[in-house]
Amino acid sequence: MIDFITQVLLYIGGIFAVIGAIGMLRFPDFYTRCHASTMISVGGVTLALFALVISQAFALSVHTWKMLLIIGLLMLVSPTNTHALANAAYKVGIKPEKLVEEKK
C-alpha cells in the first residue's frame, strides 16, 4: 500500500515536471516562464519529495525530518528566487512579449 502511494505520487510529480519543462521551452517571454519554473519546483519536485517522505514514514529517523526540512526550505526559497528575479528583470527593462496597454 505504501509502495503504491509512493509510486503514484512520484509519477504525478514527474508528469508535473515534464509539463512544466515543455512550458519552459514554449512560453514566449520571461514573465510567463516564471510560471513554468514554479510548476516544476513546487508541483513536481515537492510532490516527489513528499512521496519519498511517505516511503520512509515508518522508519522515523533523523533523515525523515531532514527530508521534511528540505520540503519546507524549498517551498520558502523557490518563490523568493522567482520574485527577486522578476523584480530585477522589471527594473533592468525586460519587456513582456505581448504587452497589454490600457486605452485612455
Partner: protein
Amino acid sequence: MIEYIFGLALSLVGLRLIRGPTFADRMISADTIANILVLFIVYYSVMSNPAYIDIAIVIMLLSFLGTIAVARFVVK
C-alpha cells in the same frame, strides 16, 4: 523509471538555459536545475545511503544565495 522522467525535464530546462535570450531566463533555469538536482540527490540517498541527504540542503541553500546575489547585483 522516475529518474528518466525527471531527466527529460532537466534536459528540456537545460536547453532553455543554453538559448535563453536574457540573463533572467538563464538564472531561473539554473535555479530550476538545482531544484531537480536536489530531488535526484534525495532519491539516491533514500535508495543507497541516507547520510548523503545533507548535500541536498547545502546545494539548495547555495543556489538560493547565488540567485539572490545575481538579482541584487544586476539592478545596481
